[in-house]
Symmetry: C2
Subunit: 640 residues, 2 copies
């Protein structure tokens, strides 16, 4: 193919970072500035700060009462009270008032008997310096208040002022210029047309730079034009501390970044053994770091964390701390390659005593998997994969505390789960519902392995014609219950206006179908209906094409990438498609009896029963929810 | 005493908060506002956010290459290559380009052999939908992107834009008005005179409100004038969501706050069973929360955390997460009272496998103890105290990671420790030196109990006339080493110009002395010198008055609260006092051999040897540092 530079290196992550840091060592220097203390929250001190004055500045009364001369109180007792004269033997002091020579002690107001305006009686002698805060008790003039490279907290601001400091030298926040590039990208304010992509990465980078202590300027999108990009980057290098270019970092026909950077400076690394995130460029131009990040959002995010963040650290003086690492049991085998270090997004849940990590979608384009993830499981380059049940290290970005208060829900997907998660967040702050969608059967297997609290299921038992309970009875020996969910209509999701005039399963031979994944309740129902109609899967074009949720299959139909799919009414309605009813099914939650009393599960049951949820389900359409939240104990002997 | 309202209640903490929350329940409501997504980092969503469009919006090439029609590639193999014609059998696509009907698969550029401008050769058939990202793979239109009450992260901003969202409803940041009051307080820009106090609490509150997600307006200090304060607070209640008044929250002659708030609204709680922090006021006026906080900085901080933060949570929608709690062994007995819940600031260090908590100064005025602390140990109201060696729960505000990389140094104080801590922070980011000052002997006892890594000591053995090593030999059985520190001059710190004309120890009978605490090396030296001079402690006025550091005793002399103290030259110099040399001593570090190879200890030794430290010591004066960082193994048999 013409104009392609196919060659991308595969430098190991650590080596790439070492090369880059070495190149930046003498170029990248922290800058400093003096700012008012009241504006210094979260900033990093340049140097040690020493107190300019003591606190307290004088010997001060630590109580409301009277300041006395210890000598003159000697001998006072209940039997031999002493009378003291104002402004001669004592003065009245409030907390914080100075206690000056000859006064050397304070008697609390509670222990003083007032006789008249000028005289008081005391029943006990004072000991020297009682209830007096000595000068410098808190801060001694000249003492070090804060060390270098210290991140300023609210309490630090308090002591800086108390120590007489009003301005402070701090590390200047580095300024990063962010350039979104690409002819196909458009600003979010414009409605996208086919072939156009809403530019969102640069706004994510902007927020990342900000949260790591830098300042970010995001430039408007530049089309894939060699000279325009070169000029813009070159100009930015004169006034910014670093430049981020996105995307064009790979080796395609329109990937200019690497050529531009070779012209403007030196490219130290192009291509790293990391997945996702291989096509990254680490360069230096005009003495400043320039990093080219790939276009896929997950790749861009992971490369930012691995390569931009360490460069920001050199400029901000922040240490960012190590990641929050926990050990978890892996719920599903992960295969990787010796070609790269791989970052797999995982959901993490605590079930019983066990922390469980469940891998999410691994595609570089799956930004929502980052939103849904609780952390990363990192597979080293020298590792070919990890087996289910093995213990893995997870870099968490949710706190363990939150994870412990989360209902782990693994199984079949329904809109109900999103709505319930939302209502839980709103009505039970600090309690969460986390759901992973691997189909009814996959969920029950996960529950058997102790990796979930509840499993949303809609499994039709062909023999009895009953839903869910027969499967749970067969699969579990421990006491189980069923939390009733909803009845919902399943059917064929078809193009708006039903142009192929499909009437039911029998008509599917003439069209492009998209199926749900193996183990999904909807697929079980579809297979059952196929059998009833006397049809064979081989007669359906697209029977093997799989998508993981109702919304995903509906989207494929809406995008005219398929003519029909099996799914729920609500998904068809959400995508403004037509719907042909095939049958009604029961969507419930399998739960071990031992989890029923957990406060998190109780919150979930309350949400299922709430009229707020019912209203939202009625809006979506296709649901019956009279029984939602009812509990059936699967076997009589376990009933309460 | 006149005009005092001595009565302060002692409501238990939980009860006080429950009373207050109940009163605020129907008054305090979150407000909402719509803001652009790019400004939403760290804000809390009002409601669930649903995608307005799918991502990708179309079936898109996942690789650079050619889009083909699967049907037309059937049969291609190495033996039977197929020739494809441009714009008929294939089109060229870059990653992200649309793949529209009739095209239904992409072949990677690497697998395509170019023949000429219009034709290519392929050696393998394509499978349907290979290297195609289906429409909605990442985000399906109508799908829930974020739930309610979700704190927006950088990745969320990315998916919001990808999902077609450009504005978002978030919780409005509550506005707090902060009123510093008091006739004695001055702005930090003014140089304080005796009796005046630099106002610093309000700036700390301002930073706390900010870091908890609110907006703060700090008003200039108001003198203790009933009507002025009342008018200012009343006006603020019209435009702010809450008001904080500091101080005047107690029951002294000039503590107006409670009266003002009774007039403006209702005081629900005045006085809580918490230490420090008893004099707190929880009130409601004009339907808004008003909180009166005490003047001592530590009390104010603890009351803010216990009472202001929960009110802010009602307005911000933040959960703030639970505190970072760890279990540690207590190094020193703590006595408390059944009268209150007590917050004791602690240093926390990891020594071997053990996390150790060492209590710091407990005074309400000791703001520096908050700066130095790693967390709080909370003693419940129903507990009279905790014995040394017991396990306690510590609410940490430094990360465990940082604590694990900290050299725990317990013993005698010297300026050297502050300078070394500063240089470590600067040259070894992520490694820290934490020092607690309890004197040489106290330090050695802590080391014996396994609560420190190194102990700064300067203990004169009267029998041999040698420093340090005899003590270590006597006290330890395990292999020990001595890291050499400095030789330093000890002497009498006296008033500038030496007005009492003191010449040495013998002259101390005529003046007010201040001593160092029991177990301090300086006190051992002082006692030794007293004995040499044939004097008895009872002859010295102030022998029993103790302060914990060289700087603290120097400050007392500088404040004319004492005439003389024993200490080091550097402290006298820092406070611009006169100094009468008494002798030279050796200030070194005792360390178990097993800790010598820890990277943190190695960093400390490097710092001791550094010319930067030596320069700073020379500036301070009174030090010899030729041997600093040298290591002596205490017993020959342990020598390397």
């Amino acid at each position: 193919m013409a104009n392609r530079n196919l060659y991308l290196n595969n430098t190991p992550v650590k080596e790439a970072l070492d090369i880059y840091k070495k190149a930046l060592k003498d170029l990248v220097k922290m800058q400093y500035e003096e700012i008012p203390v009241e504006k210094s929250l979260g900033r990093i001190t340049k140097e040690a700060v020493y107190a300019r004055c003591s606190s307290p500045l004088f010997n001060a009364a630590a109580m409301d009462g009277i300041a006395v001369i210890t000598e003159k109180t000697k001998g006072a007792s209940e039997r031999t009270p002493l009378i003291l004269e104002k402004n001669q033997d004592f003065i009245v002091v409030d907390t914080g008032d100075p206690v000056n020579y000859p006064y050397d002690a304070v008697i609390m107001a509670e222990d003083v008997i007032e006789i008249d305006e000028r005289t008081v009686k005391i029943l006990e002698a004072a000991t020297a310096w009682q209830h007096v805060r000595p000068i410098g008790e808190d801060i001694v003039s000249g003492e070090m208040l804060l060390p270098s490279m210290h991140k300023i907290r609210p309490i630090d601001i308090g002591v800086l002022f108390s120590g007489g400091i009003i301005n402070i030298m701090v590390v200047k926040q580095p300024k990063a210029a962010i350039f979104p590039t690409g002819t196909e990208i458009i600003e979010p304010t414009k409605t996208p047309e086919a072939g156009e992509i809403i530019e969102s990465n640069s706004r994510m980078f902007e927020a990342m730079v900000t949260s790591y202590g830098g300042l970010a300027d995001r430039f408007p999108p530049t089309p894939d034009d060699y000279n325009k990009i070169k000029t813009a980057v070159s100009e930015a290098l004169d006034s910014y501390d670093m430049v981020i270019i996105n995307a064009g970092s790979s080796a395609g026909t329109e990937d200019f970044t690497v050529h531009i950077l070779r012209e403007l400076g030196e490219v130290l690394v192009h291509g790293v053994a990391i997945k996702p995130g291989k096509p990254v460029i680490l360069a230096v131009a005009k003495g400043k770091p320039v990093i080219g990040l790939p276009g896929y959002p997950v790749s861009a995010y992971i490369d930012f964390e691995n390569f931009v963040k360490p460069v920001l650290a050199l400029l901000t003086g922040e240490t960012y701390g190590d990641s929050n690492v926990a050990e978890a049991v892996l719920s599903k085998r992960m295969i990787s390659s010796l070609k790269h270090k791989e970052y797999v997004r995982v959901k993490v849940g605590q079930v019983g005593d066990k922390l469980v990590a469940s891998p999410l979608a691994r595609g570089a384009g799956a930004a929502m998997s980052l939103v849904r993830a609780d952390g990363f499981c990192v597979i080293d380059q020298n590792c070919e994969g990890i087996e289910a049940g093995e213990t893995v290290r997870v870099e968490l970005y949710r706190s363990l505390q939150e994870i412990r208060h989360t209902v782990v829900c693994i199984g079949s997907h329904d809109l109900l789960l999103d709505l319930a998660a939302d209502l839980m967040a709103f009505h039970y702050p600090g309690v969460y519902l986390s759901s992973t969608h691997i189909g009814s059967m996959g969920g029950l297997m996960a529950l058997k392995r102790g990796e979930a609290h509840i499993v949303p299921v809609h499994l039709l038992d062909e023999a009895s014609g009953k839903y869910n309970i027969p499967y749970i009875k067969r699969m579990f020996e421990e006491p189980m219950a069923l939390i009733k969910g909803v009845k919902r209509i399943q059917g064929l999701i078809v193009q708006k206006g039903n142009p192929l005039n499909l009437k039911g399963i029998a008509d599917l031979k003439q069209c492009r179908f998209v199926n749900r994944q193996r183990g999904a309740g909807t697929r079980v129902l579809f297979d059952y209906k196929l059998k009833q109609a006397g049809m064979d899967p081989s007669e359906i074009t697209g029977y093997d094409r799989e998508a993981a949720t109702h919304m995903a299959v509906a989207a494929l139909v809406a995008g005219n990438s398929a003519d029909a799919a099996m799914g729920i009414f609500a998904a068809a309605k959400a995508m403004q498609l037509d719907f042909i009813e095939v049958g009604q099914e029961e969507y419930d939650f399998a739960v071990p009896v031992k989890y029923l009393e957990l406060p998190e599960i109780q919150a979930f049951i309350e949400v299922l029963k709430s009229s707020e949820l019912h209203t939202r389900l009625a809006d979506a359409g296709g649901y019956q929810f009279e029984e939602a939240g009812d509990i059936y104990f699967i076997d009589e002997k376990f009933q309460a």
